[in-house]
């Protein structure tokens, strides 16, 4: 490491003339008297009193470091080490102080109850509404979200689904081939929970309304959708646990994203 300092390090150790030490102790004792005296004077504010006191202390410290500890005559890493340490400590003090200075009293953040969950009645309406408008909306969602695996026509031949095993459902296939069946509620459950052991994920990021629109569109692709399906019995539980709807609904712990954004923006005031 110290190849450039090779020669510097190896000259004889510097002997400090004693007079430096006498002068230094004299200065240190004087400064001690000064600092005790200064503590009786009010320099205007607490901050100023501190500043004066610390300035005197730092002067004393410098004398000890430079003369008694020999840094004045040291020409190597020792000075850098102590300087960096002081800088690090000053940083910690600064960070603590600057945090304290900008603290105001804590304001409790009032989080209004998150936008009310969808009611059971609304869900029933979504279930019943298989109008053309809803199906069109469902198709739009399908092309955005589902077509990559299920194919634009719903044949299960989407590019992203090519490597999946089992393959994505062909929605034109007979009901018996569908994992959960073709009933409205079974398709809804599939969208909410996905299908274990396959590449079909749960799409709870879509709202209840959107998922129902998808249900209606998907069914519209099939020539003979059934009224009952294997996952029907599971529907009520899904509504409660996954969507937070129903008498035994589990309250969702997250708040809607737009409310979160409002709160964060509001915080900056």
């Amino acid at each position: 490491m110290a190849n450039t300092n090779h020669n510097k390090h190896e000259h004889s150790h510097h002997i400090v003339p004693l007079k430096h030490y006498w002068l230094t102790i004299f200065a240190l004792l004087i400064l001690t008297i000064v600092t005790v005296g200064a503590s009786y004077i009010n320099f205007g504010s607490s901050a100023y009193n501190w500043a004066v006191s610390m300035a005197i202390a730092c002067t004393k410290a410098s004398l000890v470091l430079m003369i008694f500890m020999g840094l004045k005559w040291d020409d190597n890493l020792n000075r850098i080490s102590i300087a960096c340490t002081v800088a690090a400590l000053a940083t910690f003090v600064w960070l603590a102080a600057s945090d304290l200075w900008v603290r105001t009293e804590e304001k409790p953040v009032a989080i209004k109850k998150a936008a009310a969950a969808v009611s059971m009645d609304e869900v029933k309406k979504f279930e019943a509404d298989a109008s053309a408008a809803r199906i069109a909306h469902g198709k739009e969602l399908f092309l955005q979200t589902c077509a990559t695996c299920h194919g634009a026509e719903g044949n299960g031949d989407g590019a992203a689904g090519a490597a999946l095993n089992p393959k994505p459902r062909n929605f034109h296939a007979a009901s018996a081939e569908w994992k959960n069946g073709t009933s409205k509620r079974s398709i809804y459950v599939t969208l909410a929970e996905g299908i274990k052991g396959s590449g079909m994920a749960s799409y709870t990021s879509l709202s209840i309304e959107d998922r129902w629109a998808l249900v209606h569109f998907i069914r519209s692709m099939n020539s003979n959708p059934q009224d009952s399906g294997k996952a029907d019995a599971h529907y009520a539980e899904v509504l409660e646990k996954v969507d937070g709807v129903g008498p035994n609904a589990v309250a969702k712990e997250s708040i809607p994203i737009d409310l979160a954004i409002d709160l964060m923006v509001g915080d900056k005031k």
Binding site: S12, H13, I15, V16, I25, A61, N76, L77, A88
Partner: protein
């Protein structure tokens, strides 16, 4: 330039005795740097709580005796002088003078601890104790114990360092008595000296913070 102050033998993995000396000194500086960070953490804690509870600190710090603090400051400052003289005389091969100065350093450190003893007993007597042991009724603020937690932690840790220094000084004096040191071999004296100056440095800050500033 003749290397007259170098040891005549040194560990073989160093280029020279001077190289060994500088490396050992650097090692001691690294230790000192770590000590600064150790006490630094406590200082930051003190600053934070002082900022948050200025009135409480003001009232509590009046329970400390400025005179005792000032006397201790003087003791340590002079002990720093005698310490560096101990090193200086060893470097000049004036071993008797060096011995005297090491001994004076030791005594001044002892005097410091005696004053501390009186200060602490007085606090114990008045119930001015750290944390949950605080029983004093004179101070008004309910969190007055905080000041004394910091006071005992900081001065206590410093006191332990003074005691450690005294043990090192005893060791040095023993070795010096045995004739280990000379103008060719004074590293240990110098390095203990560096440590001792740091102990003094810390007190230079402790004194105004705890005893003086309002």
């Amino acid at each position: 330039m003749s290397d007259s102050h170098a040891k005549t033998d040194f560990s073989p993995w160093y280029r020279s005795a001077a190289h060994e000396f500088e490396s050992q000194k650097f090692g001691m500086w690294l230790f000192l740097v770590q000590e600064v960070m150790l006490f630094g953490g406590l200082f930051v804690g003190f600053i934070v709580y002082n900022y948050l509870y200025p009135e409480m600190f003001r009232e509590a710090h009046h329970m400390l005796d400025k005179r005792m603090g000032a006397i201790n400051t003087v003791f340590l400052l002079i002990s720093s002088l005698t310490m560096v003289l101990g090193v200086a005389y060893t470097q000049r091969n004036e071993i008797k003078k060096a011995m005297v100065n090491l001994f004076l350093t030791f005594c001044l450190a002892g005097a410091f601890m005696v004053v501390k003893y009186f200060e602490y007993s007085h606090k114990f007597h008045d119930g001015l104790l750290p944390g949950k042991y605080f029983t004093n009724t004179e101070l008004h603020a309910p969190n007055s114990y905080l000041f004394f937690t910091l006071y005992f932690m900081m001065t206590g840790l410093h006191g332990i360092h003074v005691l450690g220094g005294m043990i090192c000084l005893l060791w040095l004096m023993l070795r010096m008595w045995r004739g280990d040191f000379s103008d060719k071999n004074f590293g240990a004296v110098e390095f203990v000296g560096l440590y001792w100056h740091l102990v003094d440095l810390i007190w230079i800050f402790l004194f105004p913070l705890l005893y003086l500033v309002v």
